[in-house]
Amino acid sequence: MSDITKKTLSELVKDIKDKKLSSQEVTKAFIERSEKSKELNAYITEDYSSALDKAKKFDQKPNLNLKLPGIPMAVKDLFCTKNIRTTAGSKILSNFVPTYESTVTQNIWDEGAILLGKLNCDEFAMGSSNETSFFGNVQNPIDKNLVPGGSSGGSASAVAAQLTPITIGTDTGGSIRQPASFTGTVGLKPTYGSCSRYGIVAFASSLDQAGPMAKNVKDCALLQEVISTFDSKDSTSIDFKRNEYSKNLTNNIKGKKIGIPKEYRIDDMPKEIEELWQNGIEYIKDCGAEIIDISLPHTSYALPTYYIVAPAEASSNLARYDGVKYGFRAKGENLIDMYEKTRSEGFGAEVQRRIMIGTYVLSSGYYDAYYLKAQKVRKLIKNDFDEVYKKVDAILTPSTPSSAFKIGEKKDDPVSMYLNDIFTVPVNLAGLPGISIPAGHDAKGYPLGLQIIGKAFDEQNILNIAYAMEEKIAFKNKITDWWIK
């Protein structure tokens, strides 16, 4: 097995720019490893032969001024890719071939990257274990029969297993940060409005955000600066001055004030997570930053709020899947029967549950009691953050309340599955940026992550803190290549 796939994105970019490696060599290496890794089920759709063609074309006339020159990359199958099937992990979109490209992926190809294929995910990004995908479970490369987290489970698995040097996922309630934590990788959820939502299959529009997933913080910073652009095709895209995050990356965080929210010390939190958090606090102090105890009093209301807001928006967004204009259609006796059978056969159980919750909380007589109530509590949650950000520059928490669990372990208990996102959901509700970095292992040797939450549009600051901590933590992922025959 070649060493090419072990390299970080930044190393590969440098090697291609220095002409030590060609795009074809790099692309071939990742394809070969992906071919030997089918057992992980990380890919839904492979596009290898056209990737090789593109790499060949790149090498014939290489533009080395680009940020991702000839770099092969697989992306979550929630991003519409022109003429390449895009399924969102659902039967209802299993035959959908977009005629347009998402802004985020277009930005990546414009900087010279090459599509390897589309990565598995929970159906419509609804899940925390990748088990709701119509295309089957994804294996976590850390251990056999372990979930990679979700919903960007295929993305996390592919980065950790070195099937792609870097990738993009989407995060509505933790779908980048939780799988990053479960696989020992780095994942950034940017500020709401930082990355365009145009061409991303919609789940909950006021929460959805695309973001990079990588082997390290520097790679994450580089991809973030490529994907974050103002886009008039997304009415919630925000026109602010974007940084060259990778160029401005520094491990100097002296004097920064980092908040530790007491409400994140939940009941029954495993001792390992508590220790991980304490270690994180020590690393921050070692870097010369200051630790400040803070309170985010409405934290425990975040998950119940999320499970009203997200399904409500989903029920509205997913109304478009009616079997008429695109996607799967079931046979029906009449138009209504066709709609009902199409949606019943086309959506999986979790998606149906969420559409029904959303429909109920928006229905006549219940709107005020549920949806309006949730929007008010969402305001209180955002106010909590606004208040503490008068005193601190960023917040440090664990990324998840546990390490990765076994496939099937939580599948039949939706609420216990939802609790996975207890530390990540408040960040989406408040529209803030958050990054998960690998910070240690539990007794089983499974990775655990720490989350740094920033002020809106302050990605540079949390990337810097993550960069400084990464150096101190010196995390090594324990991957044995058990799935390679």
Binding site: S232, G327, E340, S344, S363, A374
Partner: protein
């Protein structure tokens, strides 16, 4: 609060998802456990709180009113499960 089979039938109709009888019971159980969890919000008094309707506190930008996608009829129809010339075809609606 409790979601019974009658409510399941009602939501199923509103969301245009047919639910078979044998699955309705399980679904009601799942939804009840989720709503039990959501009920926690009632602990909070929110009479005087403004609802958060938009996370990005900016006014919407106006764009010029011009057509940018032209002649994309073929693209629009390309993914349809059933079409006839330039039309989507659905089961007969008018007797």
């Amino acid at each position: 609060m409790s979601i019974d089979l009658k409510t399941i039938k009602h939501i199923s109709k509103l969301s245009r998802i047919s639910v078979e009888e044998q699955k309705a019971e399980k679904l009601a159980g799942d939804l009840n456990s989720i709503f039990d969890f959501i009920e926690k919000l009632n602990e909070l008094k929110t009479e005087n709180v403004e609802p958060l309707t938009s996370i990005a506190e900016t006014t919407l930008k106006l764009r010029s009113d011009e057509v940018k996608s032209k002649n994309i009829r073929e693209q629009i129809i390309k993914n349809s499960p059933q079409d006839n010339e330039d039309y989507f075809v659905v089961p007969k609606v008018i007797e």
